[in-house]
Amino acid sequence: MLRIEDLSAWYGEARVLRGVSLEIAEGEIVTLVGRNGAGKTTLLRCVMGLHGAGGARAAGTIGFLGANVARLPVHRRVRRGLGYVPDDRGVYATLTVEENLTLPPVVGPRPWSLDQVYETFPRLRERRRSPGTKLSGGEQQMLALARVLRMGARLLLCDEPTEGLSPLIVQQIGAILRDVKRQGVTVLLVEQNVHFAATVADRHYLLAEGRIVRSLDNDEVRAREHELLEHLGI
C-alpha cells in the first residue's frame, strides 16, 4: 500500500528526516511514535506532498499503490486515495459541518454516505448547519475523521488524533479506527500516546532524530510499554 524509501527532508539547512524507509501493507494500522521534533509530522506531510514550501524540501521515493507519487502535486496524490487528518484537525470556520464533510472529492472505492457518517456520529447530524469550529475539540476530531471516511480514502494519515481529548473520546476514536480497519482501510497513525497506540495498531515504528530506530510489533510494545514511555520522555 505504502512504501517509503530513503526519505530525507530539510527545513532550510536543518535536516529533519534522515533516510527513512518503511512499509505498510493493505489493511494494517501502523503507528509512528517518537518524541516531539523527531520528524513524525514532517513524514506525514512528505507523504501528502505538503512539505516543500518556503525553503523546505524533500528527497526520496514514496510508493503508493505501486507508483512513486513523490513528484505529484498534492491534490493528485489525494485523488489516488489518501485521506489526511492534520494535527490541528483542519476544520474550516467559514464552512458548516456538512460543508466541511462534503468539500473533498470521493477518492476511493468505498466512500461513506452522509447518512452513514451521521449514523456513526449523531452529534455531527445535530450540528450540521453550524460553523465547523463551533464544535468541541472532540467533535472536531470526529468531523476530521468522518471527512476522510466520506472521501473513501484507502490510506488514512492521522496526525495525533487523540491529542488533548478526554479518555472517553479517545476510546471512541480507537473503536472507529478498529472498525475502519475491518473495512479494509489502511491507517498510518502518528501518536504520542503509546498506550492508545497499542490498543489499535498492528505494528509500530519508533522515530528518533529523523531516523527509524526500531520497528516493533504490538506484543513487544505491550510488554515494553514502560521502556518506551521512558524513551519518549513521558
Binding site: 505538503l50 502535486p73 483542519g90 474550516y92 470556520a93 462534503t102 468539500l103
Partner: protein, 287 residues
C-alpha cells in the same frame, strides 16, 4: 435629507462593487490589487470607446466590457500574478501598483486627462417618482443592479459547490489542497471575476461620473478604506461597509461639509481602534 441618503447609497453601490472584487481577490490570492481602480477606469473607457468609435450602445457595453475585462484579468493572473505566489507580498503590491500606473498612463497618452462625455441610455434618461421625491432613473438603475450583483455573488459563495470551494481555499489553501482540491485551478477565475466586477462598476459609472484616466485612482483610496473597515477578505463586510460608507459620506457632506474628504478615514481609524480586524474580519491570532 432622504434624497442625500439615497445619493449616498448610489455612491456606496460603486464602493460595494469595487470592495467586493478586491475582497474576493485578496481572500483567494492574498494579493492587494492596487490596479483595481484602473480596471474600473478601463470599464468606463471601454463603454466610451465602444459608443464613440463603434456606435455600440450602453446595454451591450454593460455585458461585453466586464466580460472582456474578466478575461483580461484571467490572463493577468496566469501570466504575471501567478509567478508571485509564495514570494513576499511586497512583490504583489509592486506589480499591481506598476500595472495601475501603466494602464492609467496608457489611457492618458491616448485620450488626455480631460473628461469624456457619455450620455445616459435613453431608456433611463428621465426620473422616477419614489414617493417622497423624484430621483433620476439612471441612479435608481445603478443601485438596483449593484444590489442584485452583490446578492448574486453572495448566493454564489454561500449556496453553491463553487462557493464552498472558494471559501475553503480562501480560509486555508494548503489544507484544501490536502483534501484533494486543485486550488490553483480556481485562482485565475476568481481574479478575473473580481476584475469583471470592477469593469461593471466602471461601465455603470460612465453615464453619471466624469470618464477620465484618473477616475479610478480617485475612487480606489476610499475603496481601500471601505475594505479595511469591512474586514480584509470578508465578502459580507466589504459590501456592507461599501453601502455604509456611501451613506456616511453623503450625510457627512450635508452636515459637516468641511470633513467630507476625511470622514471615511476617521471612520476607518475609529473602527480599527475598536475592532482591529475590521467590522466583519476574523483576527488571525484568534484561530
Amino acid at each position: 435629507m432622504l434624497q442625500q441618503a439615497f445619493n449616498g447609497l448610489v455612491g456606496g453601490a460603486f464602493y460595494a462593487l469595487l470592495a467586493l472584487g478586491l475582497s474576493v481577490i485578496f481572500g483567494m490570492l492574498g494579493v492587494v490589487n492596487f490596479a483595481h481602480g484602473s480596471f474600473y477606469m478601463l470599464g468606463a473607457f471601454g463603454a466610451y470607446v465602444l459608443l464613440d468609435s463603434f456606435g455600440v450602445d450602453f446595454w451591450v457595453a454593460l455585458a461585453a466590457v466586464p466580460l472582456v475585462l474578466g478575461v483580461a484579468g484571467v490572463a493577468v493572473e496566469r501570466l504575471f500574478v501567478r509567478r508571485l505566489t509564495g514570494l513576499d507580498p511586497l512583490y504583489g503590491f509592486l506589480f499591481t501598483f506598476g500595472l495601475a500606473l501603466i494602464l492609467q498612463d496608457a489611457v492618458k497618452h491616448e485620450y488626455g486627462v480631460q473628461s469624456q462625455p457619455y450620455p445616459r441610455p435613453p431608456a433611463l434618461s428621465g426620473s422616477l417618482d419614489l414617493g417622497l421625491f423624484d430621483y433620476p432613473a439612471y441612479q435608481v438603475f445603478v443601485l438596483v443592479v449593484s444590489v442584485l450583483v452583490c446578492a448574486a455573488t453572495w448566493l454564489l459563495l454561500t449556496r453553491t459547490r463553487i462557493g464552498v470551494i472558494v471559501r475553503a481555499a480562501t480560509e486555508r489553501p494548503e489544507l484544501t489542497r490536502a483534501l484533494g482540491i486543485d486550488v490553483g485551478r480556481w485562482v485565475a477565475p476568481v481574479f478575473g471575476f473580481g476584475i469583471a466586477l470592477a469593469g461593471l462598476a466602471g461601465v455603470l459609472a460612465a453615464p453619471m461620473r466624469a470618464v477620465n484616466p484618473l477616475m479610478g485612482a480617485d475612487l480606489i483610496i476610499t475603496v481601500f478604506a471601505v475594505v479595511v473597515i469591512g474586514g480584509l477578505g470578508s465578502i459580507f463586510g466589504s459590501v456592507a461597509a461599501g453601502f455604509g460608507i456611501g451613506l456616511v459620506s453623503a450625510l457627512g457632506n450635508l452636515y459637516v461639509p468641511a470633513l467630507s474628504q476625511t470622514l471615511v478615514f476617521i471612520v476607518m481609524a475609529a473602527v480599527l481602534l475598536w475592532r482591529p480586524a475590521g467590522l466583519f474580519g476574523r483576527e488571525e491570532a484568534a484561530l
